[in-house]
Symmetry: D2
Subunit: 358 residues, 4 copies
């Protein structure tokens, strides 16, 4: 009953098989192999346009180099207060891109258009003391498992454009959002004003596979130097390519995401059905956030359920009662129905025994 994070899963068998298949033979290094190039072409198909693709090893690397690609001196990047770049990257974007991050508020883990407008306004053109706007970044699906609608993305994209700013999408869970909205990658990105995507595959079945995808290849000029200078260019790059090839072949990536999302919905039902837990908000991707008594969370953990407590977003704080705790459950391609059932049983038992004990 591991719901700690989707990165606690290993690799999908087809990913492992692809790596094994690729391990034989010789191929040119540093991304120049045939397999690398073949996979780059697959991304053109995925996005229905010619894109520029760069593999990197971590989501933090993808986000940080994305920021570096558009960095300006004194540049400020606008992102939601809960954004991974702000909360969970140990300052990597600031360090690697020499940017600053400015938190923009919004309920449900999503940046609000008006808050973004106000935030950008604090940096009027030419005012050197404050610095200058540099980029806008949104996370899809968001850090709390919610999803921007296409209209919301479009509005944010329009604001960004009106200030001459690129729009970046942190897609650590890109596939989960895609299948949830049931749209194409093109519809969720460049058709709504997204310029650059951190395309995550690690959490969705790969070992280690992240890609930075420039919607306009011209924007990537000089980027190979940025990646190498940040020590993020793999020599045996085909170990990345092989993962992505399997990932994108026969819809494995969408299948994995659909499965994770479906498991999340089932788990949500279990949590909603229980008299001992309630959902802080409705899950739209593969993360579920129940509120429960801290003592129950302890009992569940003692019985083998693994999940993290979570700091409550400001707009939710007053929903959490004395003695209660907000928790995060994450499902993945590797989550099984058996795990859900086992957890449902456990919840019933633990909730019951808890009740009995009171």
């Amino acid at each position: 009953m591991i719901f700690a994070s989707d990165n606690w899963a290993g690799a999908h068998p087809r990913i492992a098989a692809a790596l094994t298949a690729a391990s034989d033979g010789f191929a040119s290094a540093y991304g120049s192999s045939e397999q690398d190039q073949r996979v780059e072409t697959m991304f053109n198909e995925v996005f229905e346009r010619e894109v520029a693709v760069f593999f990197v090893g971590t989501g933090t690397a993808a986000n940080s180099l994305a920021m570096a690609a558009y960095a300006k001196p004194g540049g400020v990047v606008f992102a939601h207060a809960d954004a991974h770049m702000i909360a969970d990257e140990c300052g990597a974007p600031e360090f690697l891109a020499d940017i600053r991050l400015r938190a923009v508020d919004g309920p449900s883990g999503r940046m609000e258009a008006n808050a973004l407008r106000a935030a950008i306004k604090r940096f009027p053109p030419g005012f050197v003391h404050g610095g200058q706007p540099g980029a806008v970044s949104i996370t899809q699906s968001s850090e709390i498992g919610t999803i921007y609608t296409l209209e919301e993305i479009e509005e944010i994209g329009a604001i960004a454009k009106s200030h001459g700013l690129p729009l970046h999408m942190d897609g650590a869970r890109f596939a989960n959002a895609l299948v949830s909205l049931d749209v194409t990658p093109a519809e969720m990105t460049w058709k709504r004003g997204v310029d650059l995507v951190s395309f995550g595959a690690t959490k969705n079945g790969c070992w280690c596979a992240e890609a930075l995808v420039f919607m306009n290849p011209a924007d990537a000029e000089g980027f190979p130097f940025l990646r190498k200078r940040a020590a993020k260019l793999f020599s045996k790059s085909r170990f990345m390519a092989a993962q992505f090839e399997a990932y994108l072949t026969d819809g494995l990536w969408l299948e994995n995401a659909r499965h994770a999302n479906e498991m999340a919905q089932q788990l949500a039902k279990v949590l909603e059905a229980s008299p001992h837990t309630r959902l802080a908000w409705h899950p739209q991707a593969n993360e579920i956030f129940p509120i429960m008594e801290a003592s129950l969370a302890e009992s569940l953990r003692a019985e083998g359920a693994v999940f993290y407590p979570w700091a409550a977003p400001e707009d939710i704080e007053d929903q959490i009662g004395e003695g209660e705790t907000l928790c995060r459950f994450v499902t993945s391609f590797a989550t099984t129905q058996a795990q859900i059932y086992a957890f449902a049983d456990l919840l019933e038992t633990a909730g019951g025994s808890k009740k009995a004990a009171q």
Copy 2:
């Protein structure tokens, strides 16, 4: 007949198998899994002392973060002029560690003790204009396939210590040096004054496995933040651990290196025996540097042999005649005797036909 680089090889079957085996099941992320911890213990055995180990994705990352671990403001790192950090890392060490690199001369790709003494002297204590010495780095085996003797390492280590500087070893081809000298890791490192090793496994049979090994764990305090801030902490870290576990089990790493070195010796014999080629210097690890006529190199390539031309080190330059070229051949765990034979045949034919054509 691929002799382009040892990173043109894929992964050893036992590495691939280990990854497949690890791909199943759940494990805690970011290096905290049991497998990660088990592998860290293996490094203690390898080095015969308690060490601190950190996995990273590229040799450039290992070297750069090594520099960051001991960085001082205005700090200068002394390395051979041909060092990978100086010649082939696109400024990553300077960027990620805010250090400068100072080239120290020496024949055969190895830093000379007296040249090191003189170089350090240029930065007297407290002289802010020049900056301050920060570290000394040597590559073992060197970028041109030669090897520091234990005595040489010891002398360099003593110089470093006398100035209070750490000694770093870039071990992208650590195993090749080890089996060539036929010594233990301890003998080649901390017993001779080495404080920190970039322990490379990628070139010797892994997909992507580099480790930074601190001989004194106390030196690694704060390092986890350095690694994360540089966006180099893998979430599914066990994919690194699994590779290293297979690599260090049953001596696979030494076996692979012995094979690569043996192939290099055989290839060297072929090149020495030919009337058309001669060796610029004797190979001690898995890189061989023959001198041949440029037209012969062309013919060989046209017939399918893959190898790079190489910029001649200064102390060798006058040995290369008009119309001749220095080339680099690299062998690896994946090089087969059949490839050597095929190349020998090709060399004889191409050399002969070249001769005949003249």
Copy 3:
């Protein structure tokens, strides 16, 4: 009627005279002259202990290098949301010290102890994703002309110490705070837990004179390299020393600050007495923040009064009515009573004509 900023003033005649006196003759460069050393000793007397002093050219430089002096990888510095470092330094502290800044709330431009405790708690020891606490910084007098009491400083100092963090004081207007509290520099700094002061003199009568003062000289080890590496070491350093010498001689610095503060009190009375303006909060140093109708501000400016509009702090926002604006007036050593009188007259006239026009 220039109330735009204290940096719109020039230099005090005694500062100018000191520079002229020093301009003759030869002296060793880069801070090693007798005059430099003499002035360093004066700082020991000012702070009643042996301190380490470094001259720099701007307040932003002092603050940024202060951060660099204690920087840790992934380090986070806690400062008030209105802090100069956050709002007005174009990312210099982040760039020069590789730190991040975390806004801590508090009314009246001052960090609240509980808010600081909560903010630090977000970065538990060893949690690499978030980063680690690095330092705490307060501004005295604050960016809005208010002043921390000695008890408040002591409490913040104690919190910082309990987490092993240094406490920095941005003293761009250090002297104004000092005379307002009527305490000694020692009482306002190290006796309350302050480790490092950006000691500003530019706004208080010098041309260009800022000093970084380490309360514990041992903390400044390596700092000379930090300053030089940031390109902030003046060659003819005695032009700094000469300014500081005159500044600290015969109490000129305190006299200037007392005058500026007194002018602020007089201006405050004028603004309070007028039926057309009211103070957003009571001035404690040399900055006054009146609220007035935007049309009145326009009239005043049209008649030659120079002052800036100011973004209202959150805790004040609802006090500003429709059509009203918050303004900042700053006095300095160069502000004269005649200017105050002239402004009082203007305010009466403009307010009256405004009224009449309505």
Copy 4:
């Protein structure tokens, strides 16, 4: 008898007077005052074209920000091995501009065109491992008091242009070169391909006055943010403007430089005439490099002459005999003929007594 450096002098009386004159009254800050703008216009006249001018506090700051203005990821700047940026700036250019510096050889402290061509060739387009060429920088007059001819500058400029690289001139002693060549600033800069000048005035009579001058104002877009982010924007900027205004008025700057150079010629004659000293090379600006016995240098110093020993450039090394030392003497606007005479007397006496003592 101070010949230690031109930065051991103070400020010219007209500079001091200008500062005193400017110290009265109010003026807008951060470079927006009328005086600032007036001085910017003077630079247009100096360079006979519209230029963009930015004041900074040190030569190292000017050079470092110059590099930042044209920085590319992984970028390499080519400069002479003795260049101030390489030898005497504690890594500031690398730190502030994220560039690397590549030493280019050449006799007499000047980069040789062919050596530059060869150096650039080491960084072929698109080769990420090495990095990419970023800029070329020359120092005029050079660090050893020699001067590039206009033809040499033109050739270097043409090489830079052919690779799409900007040419920077470190003009810490710009005026000394100008009067030595007896040409106009335009002739020595943009007419020969120079794009950017670090225009030094500190060593030539100011307290603290350096300017970065872009020959093409369009290149300076975004530069105000670069300067502010590096914490190098002065608030009371008119203290810089006032110095430059006096400096450029009535040819003070050229007069000062002519005087310094003339003093250097006289001192050179004294040193040439002595049987105890000889010149390592002929001075072309205000630095003189005699070779003498170390014991004589000691005697001279004991009697009050101040000058530094100097590390011999490689092409001169074998001219320095056993027991001899290379020394640097620098003259300035403040050097008097009386000092030269006094030194001449001292040299005769010390040389004689030394002889007698042998």
